[in-house]
Symmetry: C2
Subunit: 352 residues, 2 copies
């Protein structure tokens, strides 16, 4: 994405016909992660009708990282502003067409984070535009529930988090604290345990495992002690999590150590969901109420015979038979947009 | 330590009386860690006599980090050269008095590391000076065995490693691979597990524990979810490992979670030693041969009623009753110097 001078981001609006008189009204949904930021622009769908399938998406724009913890406040703001402008320009709309913006971004953990970001969104959009800022897990939940904040989402990619809402908007989360604080079920957690198993086999602290040959081959290394230099050279979580498919292959081929790592990860992931369900009482008093369980992320998707997601659902269903698994058909940015749409609809019903 | 211009480090030698005719001969021992570097200068003790107690140390100098992985080759070299010059100047000796230098430095894992460092030491000292470069764990072993390379050392501070030698110079190590690769018995490992236990109790994935109150109070935080920001703000291992005393206090006060963490750490640390002893056959064929077990580092030292070091020894002795625990009375830099002295003595006996 090219760099803009101050104000230049929105210059495209001046070249638009009928500026300020758009008949289309739109919603922007943003999903800002640590690797990329996606913005979609959807039309304001009628509140009376069921949602069309497939959902109409007017435009989609992609940019880099917008986590303020990673890139700093200024860069995060610029990235978000640019990606919104690009989505609007592609839609042929100006800001005057926008009814609501929902920004779901990683690293938003407190009300103070939310308020700060809402404040600068307010510099861009006029007062009548409804603004909301959420943790990115909330957009993932909404991508499965088509905008309704109810149920629990489990995200397991490089990291992992479980996040849930009751219908009366109480919320709870579990995990999502990073590897130092024990997110062992994550892709990073699985891969780090596999690397650890290789080191332990090498220095005599653990059983031999086929993970050794498979991981060394994958990384182009010739001996397990070279893994020490490999991890020190670049300890980025995503680089380590990229080894998950190797662990899955070894488990499928019958390696006991790899199988134990995956079963432990299933238990950890299920435990995060159970903790959220328990605290929110999503399962009702008899423990059997139905609730959406939205499953998102590479660890839960990309498997073949050894299906981590399926095992996690199995493990949760034993305790909570009402868990209703959903694999979202739309991306989290669309979830964010639907969340904004849903909120507008609720406000409209209260105060028509 | 002040900065020197090229060559200026050794200018003090020109002001010395009798330059090149020193009657004293000395040995330099260096212990270069990631936080500091220590250099001691000891006199060349007679090979025929038993070592005096206490050992005479002519001078001691301290500088910052000399791990080439952390500060780069140039800075590491400059630090090491300065600290050696300072120790010699304080001893009233010039380089011509030096018979041997033993440099034990963290981050030295391969023969190529050793050879590269020996090469630039050779630029400083003439050919007749005996130079050796070792992993810093080797100096710690020698600090317990007074220079003899035999037995196993267990270091448990921020990190942990077990390193052993047979009398015929076969060597083996276990752990020492960093937190990503499962050094769970280390100070970092203990503290990270305690932080994890606090998060798990907070979000409903684990039992309640007194670690929560004690750790939050120690860090001046008011809620467990603030730990996420605290660890992201500065993930340095030493900062996290500094929480070990809090874990020990909680365990002493009867907290079950804290006790489990410490017992797990004891098992991990003992397992590292056992792996080295097993691979080297230090215990002999009947498993009962005596061998030195040198114990070094804050995790093994600083405890009161809950004595991690004592428990580790107990756990090792069950399998290897010949393990002879030693808590060194001298620091690793002196161990490095004694290692050099020991090597000179062996060479002298072979070729008197």
């Amino acid at each position: 994405m090219k760099r803009y001078r101050n104000g230049e981001i929105w210059e495209f609006e001046q070249e638009m016909p009928g500026m300020g008189n758009d008949s289309t009204e739109v919603i922007l949904g943003l999903d800002g992660g640590t690797t990329s930021t996606v913005c979609v622009c959807i039309p304001l769908l009628p509140f009376s009708d069921p949602l069309p399938d497939p959902l109409p998406v007017l435009a989609r724009a992609v940019a880099g990282c917008s986590n303020h913890n990673s890139v700093g406040e200024t860069a995060a703001r610029e990235t978000l502003e640019q990606v919104m402008a690009e989505a609007l320009a592609k839609s042929g709309c100006s800001r005057s067409a926008v009814r609501a913006v929902c920004l779901a971004v990683s690293g938003v953990n407190h009300l103070t984070d939310q308020q700060r970001i809402v404040n600068w969104l307010r510099d861009i959009f006029p007062n009548r535009v409804r603004l909301s800022v959420q943790n990115d897990a909330v957009a993932a939940l909404a991508s499965g529930t088509l905008g309704k904040l109810h149920g629990c989402v489990l995200i397991a990619g490089t990291g992992t988090i479980a996040y849930g809402f009751t219908e009366d908007r109480r919320e709870a989360r579990a995990a999502g604290a990073g590897p130092t604080l024990g997110d062992w079920g994550s892709g990073y957690g699985i891969a780090a345990q596999a690397l650890t198993a290789v080191i332990r086999a090498y220095d005599g602290r653990g059983p031999q495992t086929n993970l050794t040959g498979s991981i060394l081959q994958k990384l182009g290394l010739s001996s397990a002690d070279e893994l020490i230099g490999w991890t020190y050279a670049d300890p980025s979580w995503a680089r380590i999590a990229a080894l998950v498919p190797v662990v899955v292959s070894c488990a499928e081929a019958g390696d006991e150590v790899a199988n134990k790592i995956l079963f432990d990860s299933v238990e950890e992931l299920a435990l995060s969901v159970k903790a959220v369900v328990q605290r929110l009482g999503l399962c009702g008093e008899d423990g059997k109420d139905s609730f959406p369980l939205v499953m998102v992320g590479g660890v839960l998707e990309a498997n073949k015979r050894w299906d981590i997601g399926k095992e996690v659902i199995h493990c949760i269903s034993k305790d909570y038979p009402g868990a209703f698994p959903i694999r979202p058909k739309v991306e989290p940015a669309v979830g964010a947009a639907l969340l904004a749409w849903n909120t507008l609809m609720e406000e409209c019903r209260k105060d028509p």
